[in-house]
Point group: C3
C-alpha cells in the first residue's frame, strides 16, 4: 500500500478529483498554501495498492497544468524620495508536486 | 515511532479527539474533503511509539461509526423534453479510513 | 528524499515560511487544530534531499518559540449550590513538533 500525496493548483483540483473517481481511485483533499507565493493550492492524498502507482501518476499528470503567474517582487529597502517601479516578475507554477510514501498498515472501520 | 493518519466523519471528530486525550494520545486535526461525496470530513494524525499502535486503532474504532448517506446521482445526458426523476442512491460512509506510516525521526523544539 | 512535517504555532508560521524561503527550502502549509487545546495551529511539510534534514531542522528550531497558555480546566461535576472558582492552569505549548518520513518517489509534472 502506498500513499500518494500531490500538491496541485486550486484550478485543477476539482477536475483531478473527477478523473480519480472515474478511474476508481479514492482520495481526500485538504486546502493548503504555497510557501513561496502564499497563494491557496490543494493537497490531495490517495491510498492505493503498490501496483497502481504508475496509473495514478499518469492521471495526475494528465489533469494538472503548469501556469505562469506574475508576482510583484518584494520592494528593496529605499531612501526617502527614491522612486521604485515594481516590474512584475514571471514565475512558473508547476502542475503537480507529488510524493509517494510507503504505508505499513491500512485499516477501515 | 509511527504516524497514524485517520480520515473520519466530521460528526465523530470531536468525540474521537476527547477519547484520544483521555487515553493520553497527542493528536492534530485538519479539515478535509472526501473525493467522492465532496463533503467535509476530518483528517487526524497521531504520532505514537510503535507499541501503542493497536491501542490507538482500538480507540479510533470505538469512536467512529459507519453511516448511510443519500446522494443524488449525477443526472445522465438528456434529450430536450425528457423527464428525469432522480432516485437518491444509498451510499455507506465508513467510520474511519486509517493509514499507519513509519516515522524515521521525531523532534520537539 | 524526506518529507519533514512540522506542527507549529500560528504566530510562528509566517516567520518560519520566510526563513525557509530564504534558505531555499520549498514548503506547503495547511491550517490545523491541536487535539488538546483545540486551538488553531499550522502544519508545514517540506520535501527535501536526505542530506539537508539537519539544516531544515535548525531553521525550524530557530524560528519557533515555546509559549505559555492559560487554560480553564474542565469544571468537575458539581452538586447544586456548590461554588467553583476556576483557577486557570498554565500549559506550555512547544515551538514545533516535527516528524521526518521517508519518501520513496518524488515527481514534478
Ligand atoms: N525560492 C524560490 N525562488 C524562485 N521561485 C520559486 C522559489 N520557490 C518556489 N518558486 C516557484 O514558485 C512556485 C510556487 O511555489 P509555492 O511555494 O507557492 O507552491 C508550491 C508548494 O506549495 C508545493 N511544493 C513544491 N515543492 C515542494 C516541496 N519540495 N515541499 C513541499 N511543497 C512543495 O507545490 C507548489 C508548486 O510548486 P512549483 O515548484 O511547481 O512552483 C513554484 C516554483 O516554480
Ligand atoms: N467510486 C465509488 N463508487 C461508489 N462508492 C464510492 C466510491 N468512492 C467512494 N465511495 C463511497 O463513498 C464514501 C465516501 O467517500 P469520500 O471519497 O467522499 O470520503 C472518503 C475519503 O475522504 C477517505 N478515503 C477512503 N479511502 C481512501 C483512500 N484509499 N485514500 C484516500 N482517502 C480515502 O475516507 C472517506 C470515507 O471513505 P469510505 O470508503 O468509508 O466511504 C466512501 C465509499 O463508501
Ligand atoms: N494530555 C495532556 N495533558 C497535559 N498537557 C497536554 C496534554 N496534551 C497536550 N498537552 C500540552 O498542550 C499543548 C498543546 O497541545 P495541542 O494538542 O493543542 O497541540 C499540539 C498538537 O497539535 C501537536 N502535537 C504534539 N505532539 C503530537 C503528536 N504526538 N502527534 C500529533 N500531533 C502532535 O503539536 C501541538 C503542540 O504540542 P506540544 O506538545 O508542544 O504542547 C502541548 C502540551 O504541552
Amino acid at each position: 500500500m502506498k500513499s500518494v500525496v500531490a500538491v496541485v493548483q486550486r484550478d485543477d483540483a476539482d477536475g483531478l478529483l473527477d478523473a480519480l473517481r472515474q478511474n476508481n481511485f479514492q482520495a481526500t483533499m485538504t486546502s493548503s498554501t504555497g510557501g513561496f507565493l502564499r497563494e491557496g493550492n490543494a493537497t490531495i492524498f490517495i491510498g492505493i495498492e503498490d501496483e497502481r502507482v504508475d496509473q495514478v501518476l499518469a492521471v495526475i499528470k494528465e489533469n494538472c497544468t503548469t501556469r505562469t503567474q506574475f508576482v510583484n517582487p518584494m520592494p528593496p529597502v529605499m531612501e526617502p524620495g527614491e522612486l521604485y517601479l515594481a516590474q512584475p516578475v514571471e514565475v512558473q507554477v508547476g502542475g503537480a508536486t507529488v510524493f509517494v510514501l510507503a504505508v505499513e498498515r491500512f485499516e477501515k472501520f
